[in-house]
């Protein structure tokens, strides 16, 4: 079973978010980056499990500049066999999906994994676009998968419950919590990652269709008030007079 896992780089979850250029550009000064957790913890690890069970190869792909190599190396350290980086800035979902689909056509992938969304832009668009561009099925928000031959039985998180679906390979799957359990890269994996192939391929020059005009931050929350646990009367007064919730 050959898998392609789409990975992206996102700001660390507690990074301070600010913008410049009239609030149209994300200000990266002082921001630490990580691999998008849904890609790393669930999509990549499930692909590795599938390889361990059924054989085959796991390739990771990222669309972005050389500064993304650090997260790609991490995916290799966790266990991916090889990596591809499409050498261009990622500008919108359509452009990224087209680049990935174009690469996917050159290989023989049974499954294309990605996280259910990135934790920065929360677009959740890529999976559907890749599937559409490749004309294959798309299963979103998968929290469990069993594979038997070329048939996969998948549980999807839906509002208030779970849907169980069946699909034949090849297909695209977006990974939600539960699909796998996070693995951390061990010493051996980290040292081997440097020797695994990371192929840099030129972009196929797809143009983005959407551009960001402005970001708006939510209103600042007012400060936290600590109330002494012995002073319940004060808490009741604050809840009724200031917060006006009782």
């Amino acid at each position: 079973m050959n898998s392609l896992v789409c990975i992206s780089k996102t700001p660390e979850t507690t990074a301070k978010i600010s913008f410049n250029d009239n609030n149209s550009q994300f200000d990266t000064e002082g921001v630490q980056f990580i691999m998008n957790p849904y890609d790393e913890w669930y999509a990549l690890v499930r692909a590795l499990e599938a390889k361990e069970q059924h054989g085959g190869e796991v390739t990771v792909i990222n669309v972005g500049p050389a500064s993304n190599d650090v997260v790609i190396r991490k995916a290799l350290a966790i266990g991916a066999d090889k990596a591809v980086r499409v050498d261009t800035e990622a500008n919108d979902a359509f452009q990224v999906a087209s680049e990935i689909a174009n690469y996917a056509k050159t290989g023989n992938f049974d499954l294309i994994y990605l996280g259910k969304e990135t934790i920065d832009y929360n677009g959740a668009e890529l999976g559907a676009m890749i599937a559409e561009l490749l004309d294959i099925a798309y299963i979103s928000f998968a929290s469990k998968m069993e594979v038997d031959g070329n048939v996969a039985k998948i549980e999807r998180d839906i509002e208030g419950g779970i849907e169980v679906v069946e699909v034949q390979t090849p297909f695209v799957i977006s990974a939600a919590k539960g699909l796998a359990e996070q693995r951390i890269p061990n010493m051996r994996g980290i040292m081997m990652a440097k020797r695994k192939p990371l192929e840099v391929v030129p972009s196929s020059s797809v143009q983005a269709k959407v551009s960001v005009k402005e970001y708006k931050l939510p209103e600042m929350k007012s400060g936290v008030k600590l109330v002494d646990p012995d002073n319940m009367d004060e808490l009741v007064r604050l809840l009724s007079e200031e917060a006006k919730v009782i």
């Binding site: 660390e12 990266t28 990580i34 190396r73 951390i184 890269p185 010493m187 040292m191 440097k194 600590l226």
Partner: protein, 607 residues
């Protein structure tokens, strides 16, 4: 700040920018590593620290290790962590490939241990002692001992301890009486009592390997008659199975802190059936053990820094959230119609926060400096190697003692920031306050470390290590000369260095006359003075690095405010901490004998 117990940013700054691990990685020995892959190790350790270690920190205090039916029961998190550490190849990662390691630089494995200590100081000891014990066997043991023990220890199937202390022999190891009686098969029968043995029982493993100091029958008295032995809890029979080796867990010690880290009384050979195997050379046991002790001393300093680091970040968060009081207006009054301000805006609270920050970041920098020296000792040759060795020898007692002693001061200030809540068990500061207290006791008390510093390290090779240190400090001062606003701090440091010279000029003649009691009487004050200056050196170094990066670019992607804060904290240190050197100098050069035995008998002094 991603979590409340540590700062990965500060660790990255230390490893990659300040102490420049790249210098080490350029060598052939470490060529298989690069900064990117080592940073990945740090992130992995931080992940585990956040998910598996910090969440059980309070619980390990509330449910301490205890003794029942001849064994010690500990929190199951220890077994889980041992498994994680071994599965991921962290245990012994700094060993050479042939010994089952990955040649990870000590700078990096030290930083990994620091992260664990910040998250939960009850756990790292089990891992560190196992690695230290395995390393002793690797360095001094026969191939047969290595093959029998090391792989099982690195896989986490067995753990290790260091067993030195006896009821009558704590600081004074020359008084060890545990006996080793030679047997025909080349082993020794071991009989004796060891107390206070950390990790001596508890982990859910098949075997615990006690690296034990004992005296072979007929050996000379004192430290020259001590040998080192591998004494397993279960010995390995010819067919490879394990059989009981007559090492009994006689009890445990209930403690004020580090309650999740077991402390055990071991009784060897009660049935005259305890066997040990000698490691290294007969009667050289204490010298061999010093390899593990020096490593453990840095570990203790690192752990103390970690505990104080966690306390600092907790108190910082509290200070940002706790509204209390109001800022003074220009006429010195307070306007009660205004909302209360958060306490971080009161200068006295800021002073307490900066005190903590200056101590923990100064301490971590010094320890990282030491680990770099250890790495350099491995890769350098000739005089450079010797210099690294001597400087490490000199700095080790300070790198153990400063974090242990000043970490306590830092934490008591963190607790103060919590006000009355700091005193309450519901809040975490009291646990850090109790946990750190052991750091200035075990692995050589502060008194013993100070004797080592002034009595041995300062004077060795005619003061050569001190000369090397002075040279390194001068290099930092020279680098600071490129920045006008750092020059005054370099000048202050220079003045304090000259005070050390004055103190030595006063003290050394006593040693030369053979009046060692007088020479060493105030060794602990000398320790305070010397380590204060060494930390000031680290702060100037951080100031220079911060200035440099502010003019260029952060290699590890940190915001400019991070570097500005370094410079402000350096200023704090030079204003509030460094002046204490003057008081030390005054004490050390005051000719009045108050504590010396010749001045008054104890019964007169304390009647």
């Amino acid at each position: 700040m991603p979590n409340i117990f540590s700062s990965i940013e500060n660790i990255r700054f230390n490893i990659f920018e300040l102490h420049k691990i790249q210098d080490i990685l350029n060598s052939e020995y470490y060529q298989d590593h690069d900064e990117e892959s080592l940073d990945m190790v740090l992130s992995s350790v931080m992940d585990v620290a956040e998910k598996d270690m910090y969440p059980v920190f309070r619980e390990m205090d509330e449910k301490p290790a205890y003794y029942e039916d001849g064994k010690v029961i500990i929190h199951p998190a220890v077994d889980k962590m041992l498994k994680i550490a071994t599965d991921n190849g962290w245990l012994g990662s700094h060993f050479d490939y042939d010994d089952g390691g990955s040649r990870v630089p000590m700078m990096l494995s030290g930083a990994a241990s620091y992260i664990m200590a910040c998250a939960n100081n009850n756990v790292g000891g089990y891992i560190g002692l196992t690695a230290g014990a395995a390393n002793l066997i690797i360095t001094f043991g026969t191939q047969e001992l290595k093959d029998l023990y090391v792989p099982k220890m690195l896989s986490g199937d067995w753990t290790g301890t260091m067993a030195l202390t006896e009821p009558q022999a704590g600081s004074s190891l020359s008084d060890i009486t545990t006996k080793a009686i030679p047997q025909e098969d080349g082993s020794y029968k071991i009989v004796g009592q060891k107390i206070f043995i950390s990790g001596g029982d508890g982990p859910n493993v098949d075997n615990i390997i006690h690296l034990t100091l004992a005296r072979i029958e007929g050996a000379p008295a004192g430290t020259k008659g001590i040998s080192l032995f591998v004494v397993p809890k279960n010995r390995i029979s010819a067919d490879g199975s394990l059989e009981d080796n007559d090492v009994i867990t006689a009890g445990d010690f209930q403690k004020m802190g580090q309650k999740g880290y077991s402390t055990v009384h071991l009784s060897y050979g009660e049935k005259n059936n305890c066997h040990g195997w000698m490691v290294g050379v007969e009667n050289r046991g204490l010298a061999h053990m010093f390899q593990m002790m020096n490593g453990a001393r840095l570990d203790v300093g690192l752990t103390a820094a970690g505990v104080a680091t966690a306390a600092y970040y907790h108190s910082l968060q509290y200070a940002k959230e706790r509204p209390q009081g109001r800022k003074l207006s220009k006429d010195g009054t307070k306007d009660v119609s205004q909302q209360q301000t958060t306490i971080i805006n009161h200068p006295d609270v800021r002073r307490m926060l900066l005190l903590q920050k200056s101590v923990i970041e100064g301490a971590f920098s010094l320890i990282t400096e030491c680990y770099k020296l250890e790495d350099q000792e491995r890769i350098l040759e000739g005089e450079a190697k010797e210099e690294a060795h001597l400087l490490l020898e000199l700095l080790t007692p300070m790198a153990k003692t400063y974090p242990a002693e000043m970490g306590q001061v830092a934490i008591t200030n963190g607790l103060q920031i919590y006000g009355g809540y700091g005193f309450c068990t519901e809040f975490p500061l009291q646990q850090y306050y109790r946990d750190i207290r052991i750091m200035s006791l075990y692995e050589g008390t502060t008194g013993i470390q100070s004797l080592d510093l002034l009595g041995r390290k300062v004077t060795m090779q005619n003061g050569r290590a001190m000369q090397i240190l002075t040279q390194r400090i001068s290099e930092t001062m020279a680098a600071s000369a490129s920045y006008d606003d750092l020059k005054p701090y370099a000048a202050k440091l220079q003045a304090k260095l000259e005070m050390v010279q004055e103190v030595m000029t006063y003290l050394l003649p006593f040693a030369m006359k053979g009046d060692y009691e007088k020479y060493l009487a105030d060794a602990s004050i000398f320790m305070q003075m010397a380590s204060n200056i060494v930390i000031a050196w680290q702060w100037l170094k951080m100031g220079v690095a911060a200035k440099e990066i502010l003019l260029t670019k952060s290699k590890v992607g940190l915001a400019s405010s991070f570097y500005e804060s370094k410079i402000e904290t350096m200023k704090y240190y030079y204003k509030y901490e460094l002046p204490k050197v003057d008081a030390c100098k005054e004490i050390l050069t005051n000719p009045e004998d108050v504590t010396l035995s010749k001045s008054a008998e104890a019964n007169i002094l304390f009647s």
